[in-house]
Amino acid sequence: MIPERRNDVICREEEFGAIIFDPQAGRMHKINTTGHFIWDLCDGIHTVDTIATKLAEQEEEDLKTVKEAVETFLKDMNSRNLIRWQ
């Protein structure tokens, strides 16, 4: 599974993470720093496994736990129509 963020969606970095703006819906979404890390990797190239591995390295956390968090985040982003699956 490869997540890809919509290319019209705009991301603004903030101290707490980022704000993602969906211009079609006119809605903003706040994400934390972990979400921002995952979001940046939703480029249509990185798989869920690769993203989870990179995040686990970054956070020095257990891969299984991190993968669950990544999947939950991506599911949420997909339900908000901000990413699609390739």
Binding site: D8, I10, R12, E13, E14, E15, I19, F21, P23, G26, M28
Partner: protein
């Protein structure tokens, strides 16, 4: 704190046919040129401001309105208009320009509304609402509540609910003497609760910063509620180029009084981070400093400023008296 505003009001003009309310932007004929407005749009976009509300005066009487909406939408910023409904001849062109939302005022039943805004204005507004709803543009209605029209709120809601309006927003009339008292604010919010029970799409604006201290709390997402968003997530650019924290500071004289910086002299992010006044504004009113709800509320700074000439307390807040007594007690 956000690194910059997420949305901004852009006051394109202070031209309108006038009304019986003392307005925060009383008509003095000042207006931006289209070129200036586009330049500001580019600055906002560069600062990654996502949403713009075009305000006046009456933006629909401003010549470049369609081209400006197109300019914003091409970026692509969400673009809304806060209108008095005075001229809807450009409605189809605005639909084509992909206008995101428009808001029109209803101040009361026909007689009252016309007394405030002029003979025939109520029907003009109803036509505007119908027209924009028919064009499938998100249409909102705003009602500015003062002590004079608060008794009409249910009647106004009956009128609004007969059209496919997305939301009926209830504002506060901010004025030196005709402001809502704390008791009246609670009354207004309680009426809104009654209307919500009837499944009406009605909500107070964030100017009722203290809403979580009233019966309206049951309808709020208290965790997400931000209270006054002026200087926290939004700012206003006047048609003279001044940057001010909220639309109630959008006259030239008030901008001067508070030492508002000019968009033509400083960039938005610098103003956002470095303007002392904005920093103070974010902290909330004096009375709010001892209130446990200060972080999310902070009181309506505009109501305080206009009614008391200072940022001491919000005369509409049901907790102001208690907090002021608390401060006095601490000082003794």
């Amino acid at each position: 704190m956000f690194s910059g505003p997420t949305y901004a009001y852009l006051q394109v003009n202070r031209t309108c046919s006038g009304c019986g309310l003392d307005c925060y932007a009383s008509p003095d004929g000042t207006a931006l040129t289209l070129r200036e407005a586009k330049e500001i749009a580019d600055m906002l976009w560069e600062a990654k401001v996502f949403i713009v509300l075009l305000d006046g005066g009456e933006p629909l009487l401003w010549d470049g309105i369609v081209e400006l909406v197109q300019h914003f939408r091409a970026k692509p910023m969400a673009t809304a208009i806060v209108s008095g409904g005075e001229d809807i001849s450009q409605a189809k062109a605005l639909q084509k320009a992909d206008l995101s939302m428009i808001q029109f005022p209803i101040d009361g039943p026909e007689d009252y509304h016309d007394r405030i805004r002029g003979e025939g204005h109520f029907q003009k507004t109803i036509t505007a609402i119908k027209t924009f709803c028919d064009l499938n543009i998100d249409t909102h209605v705003g009602t500015v509540i003062s002590p004079e029209n608060m008794r009409y709120l249910e009647e106004i809601s009956d009128i609004v609910s007969s059209y496919p309006v997305l939301i009926h927003r209830v504002l506060r009339y901010i004025h030196a003497s005709k402001f809502l008292t704390a008791q009246q604010c609670v009354e207004v919010l309680s009426t809104i609760c009654t209307l919500r029970e009837k499944k009406r799409a009605i909500a107070p604006t964030n100017c009722y910063t203290f809403a979580s201290q009233t019966p309206y709390r049951q309808y709020m997402n208290v965790e997400k509620f931000q209270g006054c968003v002026g200087g926290k997530t939004s700012l206003v650019i006047t048609c003279d180029g001044y940057v001010v924290p909220c639309p109630h500071f959008a006259s030239k004289s008030i901008a001067h009084t508070i030492g508002a910086p000019s968009i033509w002299e400083e960039d938005i992010k610098t103003i956002w981070k470095e303007w002392d006044f904005l920093d103070e504004f974010r902290k909330g009113l004096t009375a709010c400093q001892v209130c446990p709800d200060n972080e999310r509320c902070g009181g309506c700074r505009a109501a305080a400023f206009h009614a008391t000439g200072s940022f001491d307390y919000d005369p509409g807040c049901p907790l102001s008296d208690v907090m002021l007594q608390k401060i006095q007690g601490e000082e003794k």
